[in-house]
Subunit: 389 residues, 2 copies
């Protein structure tokens, strides 16, 4: 196990009707003038936004609002939010929505206390301070409610970049599983795939002697394997929704990934897919992950056999562990298909002829590589895309 630090200071408020406590928690964490930041549509239609406003008003907390966050949140709205915060002397940002609203809120929070261009942070400048951010989560997926990460897309050149730091960890996050019951099955499944991907990206490591985090990773995956089919079958299953929602936080606040090298190459490989075809991140991951696993499996057959046995319930083939490893990947594919996810370019609507373009956009050049479990050259990535056809 490697040395590590772990810091997850977010106050989590979990369960039915908890959005009504938003005002109480804003107050507890020092907010007096709030920017409510959200997407639109369902948050308004469902009455959630009104309930949150009422919760603030009940505590005598003033607010302004900024809606319009889109999936793959854009820098334009971030600039608008920063300006609004300054004009209105906002001292707390409350995101109401999913990962996009939360990521956008984090960008505004950092930018509001910075004299330069907030994009500097997304080009690598460390974030030392930010306004406090709270969240009311509406989809189990990105894990942004418990992480210090934010991904923003700059309109100029459609650059998608991430920033992170302790200052971006939400001070509180309200998780009411009932709010996710209205999500369409496809979005639910995309979110579930994203959660599982966050675990895979930590699980496949070259770091030895990491039993505790292996087991914690497997705990999250086993939960997903049991609970996701239940919500696809019955969207109103509160209990299954609750297990998935907490699993989504645990998958990405890094508790299950500490002390080990992680490999986020597949996230990058997927980004080119969703950038080119505007498909959901989770759907892209469902296509990329089995292909990536098939390609890198030989790096550590035993680790792939381990997940096959422990998570997918395969019987260990002691004479030929590679068969077990492959069987695990097959089971993952079957699982993804069963919850309605695409697992190929064809099902996703992606085209073979675009592969060279996607590889080129990754910018690896002649000798560059990405990832750590098995460092991948441009040629490797091309083969992974082809395995996904």
């Amino acid at each position: 196990m490697n040395n590590f630090t772990f810091y997850s200071p977010t106050y989590f408020v979990f369960g039915k009707d908890t959005e009504n406590e938003a005002g109480r928690y804003v107050k507890r964490f020092g907010g007096s003038k709030v920017l409510i930041h959200y997407g639109g549509g369902s948050v308004i239609r469902s009455g959630l936004l009104d309930r949150v406003k009422k919760a603030l008003t009940n505590e005598g907390i003033d607010y302004v609002e900024l809606g319009g966050v889109k999936p793959n949140p854009r820098s334009g709205l971030v600039y608008e939010g920063i300006e609004l915060c300054r004009k209105e002397a906002v001292d707390f940002i409350l995101a109401v929505g999913g990962g996009s609203s939360i990521d956008s809120a984090k960008a505004i929070a950092a930018g509001a206390l910075y004299e330069g261009d907030f994009w500097d942070f997304y080009e690598g400048k460390p974030i030392t301070k930010a306004l406090p951010v709270g969240t009311v989560l509406t989809i189990a997926a990105a894990g942004s409610e418990g992480s210090g990460d934010s991904v923003i897309t700059k309109e100029e050149g459609m650059l998608k970049r991430g920033a992170g730091g302790e200052a971006l960890r939400p001070v509180f996050s309200i998780l009411n599983p009932a709010l996710t019951q209205t999500l369409p099955a496809y979005q639910t499944a995309c979110g579930a795939t994203d959660i599982m991907a966050h675990v895979f990206e930590r699980y496949f490591t070259n770091t030895k002697e990491v039993e505790i985090t292996d087991r914690l990773c497997e705990a999250v995956l086993l939960t997903m394997v049991k609970e996701v089919p239940r919500v696809i079958e019955d969207p109103n299953n509160y209990e299954a929704r609750a297990n998935i929602m907490w699993a989504g936080m645990v998958a990405h606040n890094n508790l299950v990934g500490v002390g080990r090298e992680q490999d986020w190459a597949s996230h990058g490989i997927e980004h080119e897919l969703s950038a080119l075809y505007d498909v959901a991140h989770g759907a892209g991951l469902a296509v990329i992950f089995p292909a990536w696993m098939t390609y890198v499996m030989k790096q550590d057959i035993i680790r792939f056999a381990q997940i096959a046995v422990r998570v997918w319930g395969c019987e260990m083939n002691f004479a030929n562990p590679e068969e077990t490893a492959k069987e695990g990947i097959e089971k993952l594919k079957q699982f993804l298909t069963s919850i309605g996810m695409p697992i190929s370019f064809k099902e996703l609507g992606a085209r073979e002829e675009d592969i060279p373009l996607m590889v080129e956009k990754l910018g690896l050049g002649e000798n560059g590589t990405m990832g750590s479990f098995m460092p991948l050259t441009a040629k490797d990535v091309e083969q992974i895309y082809r395995l996904a056809l």
Copy 2:
């Protein structure tokens, strides 16, 4: 799943040589005048105390010190610590040691900011503020490094009471597994049993639909089952020590227990054993837990079969799940014996004739009960003690 809140704001610093960063973290969390609080003996002999002092001095941080914490820490030393904090204008308490030193430090931290008698908190008064506490942990066991709990014994009448609250969560905890390599096998095994007990106390619940926390509990137990025998075999196995140390934190910061009713009766039943015979808490738990499980098993045979299959690797007896449940308890006993723990009154040196006294001291009276998984009357507890003979 029940509604819950979860708040674990401790900054964890994990790995080799991390005690040398103590000064940096005290500074980060606002300390300028520190009380170093510890037991004695090994902390001094090993040079750890000197390294911690040097780490503080390197950052220009002043300190006073108070050693002498004993297992089952006493109120007398807490009063002494409170007085010292006031006299020396201490603004930060750094515990160097195990659960006893940390619990004592927490009591001093709360008492130093309170005008009344600190014991009020251990009689039920809520703790609203405390000096910040940091820890340098030397044994994986109590989980106090990541919890808001503290247990203190009052000399008058030897009253053992617990207090808790968010204000008592350490602001940082330094966990260096190498510091635990010098522990005797017996103490290591006692600590491991305490860690496993913290999971059992959360696992056996009447709350339904808690797959994510079930799986996380099992993850910790599976890790212990693998790693503990390795450190008993080779005390210098850093990697196994590391997995156990992080498992010990995860077992008790309540991540694995949120959203479910918990049952701490067995902890109380054990306390009478360790109070009467001055045996280690972990050893007492090894005696009590299998007996408690045997007695309460019928409350939920399937849950006991589940842990037998998932943690102890038993094959499910579908025709007779009770057999599987019993087999799991047998495997636990075998495991405890294999790591050198007692599993009976006889092995512990406890006496059958003291049972009525221990039952009486629990103060349940005619109709009182303890625990929630299966509420236990005085007669039930007596039978549990007898099952442990």
